[in-house]
Amino acid sequence: MEVDMMKKVPVREQAPAARAKNFEEVCEGYNKEEAMAEATRCLNCKNPMCVQGCPVSINIPGFVQELKEGKIEEAYKVISLSSALPAVCGRVCPQEKQCEGKCVRGIKGESLSIGKMERFVADWARENGIKPEPAAVKNGKKVAVIGSGPSGLTCAGDLAKAGYDVTIFEALHKAGGVLVYGIPEFRLPKEKVVQKEIENIKGLGVKIETDVIIGKSVTIDELLNEQGFDAVYIGSGAGLPKFMGIPGENLNGVFSANEYLTRSNLMKAYESDSKTPIMKSKKVAVVGGGNVAMDAARTALRLGAEVHVVYRRGESELPARAEEVHHAKEEGIQFDLLRNPVEIIGDENGWVTGIKCIKMELGEPDASGRRKPVEVQGSEFVIDVDTVIMALGTSPNPLISSTTKGLDINARKCIVADDCGKTSRDAVYAGGDAVTGAATVILAMGAGKTAAKAIDEFLSK
């Protein structure tokens, strides 16, 4: 296979027109030949910048060199030293801002396609029955992990490998957290990828108890004082969906992205025989510009709607991954940029008929460093829609903080934890969205990994 050293080996994708009508995975990934060809582009830098860009510090040149020689199992072992969820990360990490963003090859040409290679290695390992190795010796200490999302799974996996007896408590009926309820099938297949990675973590000896709500079913104090856990890691996730506080938000046909995506992803409402319904929309406005907004928009499109993304800033300020925006546009999603909703309009029966927006222009940069959008007076207009999906982020869930004495929260009501994940309570660690507010899968994994190390040090004293 001929390789242009300046360009990524292209990855196969479902054609936009076809994929806009199904929930199959958009990106088909590299085959072995393509992955090995891409690996030849690695400069194998002495001081690999890509590793610095990775929140879990995968030895990227290490696995790429193995891949280059066709030693896929070896490559998988290198990745597994640092990541418990490589098939997930290869698909959903914002590589352009992390490893690939720092790749030295990217200075003159296109950076290495690290995410796609990671995905290939992880998929190959899964298809060939290669699994991470459980700890040889158990140390007899018990750790409780709250939440089975990326942060909890990573923390649990690392602790299990270090010999701990780990139990994950999950509030929903299925393990996986945002990987299961939030990210759609067409970006991250549930049975094929997520459940298999969870099986691998269980294979390390981690127990997962679903249907348990920490703070309600049982408290952290009970876990520590009565159930014999030596430490607790809180990876409970982002929390409650935000709304704008504009008139009409409780009309029939207005949903949070969390609700819309949970119905589709967790409850499989996109399948015709699902017991859980989802709105059959003709025209949808999705408010927001992040990855969750893209996921909601592309889900609504696949369910048959015309979809508009309404975002108050401009294209370059969209917080979503470039790849997601690109895919959304290819599929026919319309971007109404520099538009901000001021009211949702309903008919006499309380059903949504439109969303009134005002035009915006960009002013001076604000605290986030992005240019602040300012309303253009008198520029209101109405988009006729029957459904509005709010994808505006989340505020922390108080279930755990309100039932755990001495657990400090900050002004934004997030759990306070230091760089190692240590909270104000002895033996209690936290990380991921519960600490940072809504962020990415890989940052949550990074926090889980750091906390696992800190918990190990704490319990080894």
């Binding site: 929903l172 009926h173 309600k216 409650l240 029939n252 969390n258 949970t262 029966n349 869930n397 279930l399």
Partner: protein
């Protein structure tokens, strides 16, 4: 998996189940609810807890077969299992968390309509165990659908009223309460009303007139039940609240019942289709 220890039909479309649910039984209090799925592909159904037994690690739920999901669930028998029972969810009723001496000073009346009798029973029983006997009005369309009569009599001072007069008093719960207060010399300063949304709306209009502080238990559409999805939002005192984490009980005078009733109808066509499918299967 959660074992069904006992199952009993209470009327033609309402059944009771006693479930082995140690985690819920360990910590639940009156006013809280659980979410149940009958099978691995079932929908998540929120149900207010009717009774619990900490020692035997069981909870009791009462279910009305009003939709496809509940009808499907009704086919499960004692000895079989439900896929999921999670909880307790929501906040307990104020009566069980407030200072008990203050609660003892209150003159409390419960008003239950239909299935609402089950969660009301949980609260009346708790009060009874704490030395408080409350008045309880239970309303039903007709004699045949009155549920939990003997259980309720054992813990509260029961008034039954039926719309058609086939049992107990004649008329709606509003008539009964108004008669008790205006004609029979009863005095109340705290009312807990649980039943169909329309009943709670009219009952709370009456109690506002009578000057009785009233709490209602809302039963909106829910998905996760932990605050994550926001499907259950209702307007209370002009603010949006999530019934699953802020409630399910709210001050009746502040609840926008019309909005809540409208939102309950969000999936009517899909629900009708699902019910038909289960009936035909």
């Amino acid at each position: 998996m959660f074992k069904i220890l006992e199952k009993e039909w209470l009327n033609v479309n309402t059944f009771k189940m006693i479930l082995d649910a140690p985690m819920v039984a360990h910590s639940c209090l009156p006013g809280q609810f659980v979410i149940v799925r009958d099978t691995e592909d079932g929908e998540r159904i929120p149900l207010t807890i009717c009774d619990y037994d900490r020692e035997n690690k069981t909870i009791t739920i009462v279910v009305q077969t009003i939709g496809g999901g509940t009808l499907q669930m009704s086919k499960k028998e004692a000895g079989e299992y439900l896929a999921d029972v999670v909880g307790p969810l929501g906040r307990p009723t104020d009566l069980v968390t407030d200072d008990i001496e203050e609660v003892k000073k209150k003159k409390i009346v419960f008003v239950a309509g239909g299935l609402g009798t089950a969660p009301v029973y949980c609260q009346v029983k708790w009060l009874h165990e704490h030395g408080i006997t409350a008045d309880v009005i239970v309303g039903a369309k007709t004699k045949d659908i009155v549920i939990l009569e003997e259980e309720m009599k054992a813990v509260g001072n029961l008034y039954i009223t039926t719309d058609d007069g086939s049992y107990g008093r004649t008329g709606m719960v509003t008539t009964c309460l108004e008669d008790l207060v205006t004609k029979e010399g009863k005095e109340y300063d705290h009312c807990v009303c649980i039943g169909p949304m329309i009943m709670m709306k009219f009952l709370s209009q009456l109690t506002a007139k009578l000057g009785i502080h009233t709490i209602v238990s809302m039963n909106p559409i829910m998905v996760d039940g932990t605050g994550m999805c926001g499907a259950c939002r209702i307007t209370v005192g002009g603010e949006t609240k999530f019934a699953c984490v802020d409630g399910p009980e709210f001050d009746a005078t502040e609840v926008d019942f019309n909005e809540a009733m409208r939102r309950l109808g969000m999936y009517k066509p899909a629900e009708a289709e699902a019910l038909k499918a289960v009936k035909e299967a």
